[in-house]
Amino acid sequence: MTPELRLMVAPARTYAVLARQPSPVGPIAALRRPLLAAVVIGVSMAISATRHVAPGLVLGTTLAWAFVVVLQLAIALLLIAAPSRRTVGVPRALDLFFASHAPWSLWLLAVAALPAPLGRPVMPLLLLAVVPLMMTNRAIAAFFREVLQYGSRRAAVHTAIHQALTWGAFVVLYGAAVALQPRIVGAFEAWFGS
């Protein structure tokens, strides 16, 4: 099995093996997994939105949505660069961290392959995201334990911080895009009367 698949099944054991094995990864090579994640997002978006691919279209969606990966990189760097007994250098740690992106990548590709939800709510598709969410949390906790050598409690706290930062950024950005404030006001009015 490939490391990405092994990480989905047994993240702690896989990260322990990967952290021990010699693999010189410099700052450039550390971007290979984030780059793949960006391409996955770009191509998935192109297929989902248009049911086809074309050079200009894929370039546009990949560049436009690359900010998601940049944000993930920044959050990961913030946590990885903190003092720890890490067994590998920062670039290699970043590389290994992004190996846990596979569940989300596969979810994005799966959603892109599904037929357009004409007249149906999109919510069931989004609920499927619970699967990569759980897998990623498990993998990230394993990453903090095995690669950064954190104890279980500290690894859990850092996983929680990582998820809080990631989903906090999502709520702020997506909330701004969908005009969350009037929706919240509307929900309150519906619940309590205006």
Binding site: P55, T61, R183
Partner: protein
């Protein structure tokens, strides 16, 4: 494994290149009916940056592929995407008319506002919001009027609206019957609009509006909506609007529901499937360790 990865990357790049279509900008002959040019429009489209998946110029290309003549970029309470498009691609590359707009997202109602210069404040009743849009010279359309609930669409607002979404990809026409009846009784010349409310999922223009314009121009499109010369076409092939106009486009409405995009080639399907499979393989194979 390294060779396999390299080969898969080549397949991915080749598949994406295979999707290139040099005929993207082919002009379609105008369709006429009596004194009118019949245009197909989607007046509720979300784009990037915002909660839409595609950049504005990619939306325009996609509109051409989907046989649309006119679209409105309508992000939630924001015109960033429109300004972004004006800054980086002010000319529509394929002759599609692109109108500035906003989906006014308020508590209890959403309203697509078209040909406005700025978003109107959301903290006001719908009738006042319509008046604010009209003060800018724009057009106000009740968006997916069935939601959010409870709805604030009152008679005062319906009386002054320019149009309502009789069909959108979220609310099919049958689900909008109650609002349609109420709107048409109070305001018989209100425009029936079909919109895709496009975000991330194809196809753009799955529900669309047939506009009976006096010419192919933004001003003529807006004038036709104000005068109610529109037919809403839902994604199932049913047309809704004034009987004399609906009869003209009902066959087109059925065609839109089942046809492939303009210029669709078998190789587009092959390219898309190959790109998708290549990416799945790359994700599963992972990086070299």
């Amino acid at each position: 494994m390294t060779i396999a990865r390299a080969l898969i990357w080549i397949v991915l790049i080749a598949a994406i290149a295979l999707g290139f279509d040099p005929r993207e900008n082919v002009e379609r002959p105008p369709r006429t009916s009596g004194p009118y040019t019949v245009l197909e429009g989607d007046f509720h489209v979300h784009s990037f940056p915002g909660d839409g998946g595609l950049l504005p110029w990619d939306i325009v290309r996609e509109a051409r592929r989907r046989g649309l003549d006119v679209i409105a970029l309508t992000n939630h309470n924001s015109m960033w995407s429109w300004r972004f498009a004006q800054r980086f691609a002010p000319e529509s590359p394929s002759g599609v008319i692109v109108l500035p707009g906003v989906e006014l997202t308020s508590a209890g109602f959403h309203m697509t506002t078209i040909d406005v210069r700025m978003p109107v404040p959301w903290r006001q009743p719908p009738a006042q919001a319509v008046a604010a849009v009209h003060a800018q010279g724009g057009i106000a359309i009740a968006a997916h009027p069935r939601s959010p609930r409870p709805s604030k669409w009152d008679d005062a607002a319906i009386d002054v609206l320019d149009g309502f979404e009789a069909a959108s990809s979220n609310d099919m026409a049958a689900e909008n019957v109650a609002f349609s009846r109420r709107a048409l009784i109070r305001h018989p010349t209100i425009a029936s609009i079909g919109s895709s409310d496009f975000h991330y999922f194809a196809p753009l223009g799955v529900s669309r509006t047939f506009v009976f314009a006096t010419e192919r121009s933004a001003a003529a499109v807006l004038d036709a909506i104000r005068k109610g010369r529109t037919v809403a076409c839902d994604g199932l092939g049913d047309a809704h609007g004034p009987a004399e106009l609906t009869s003209v486009v009902s066959a087109d409405c059925r065609r839109v529901a089942v046809s492939d995009p303009v210029g669709w080639r078998r190789r587009d399907g092959v390219a898309t499937a190959a790109a998708w499979l290549a990416l799945v393989a790359l994700v599963v194979l992972g990086a070299r360790e």
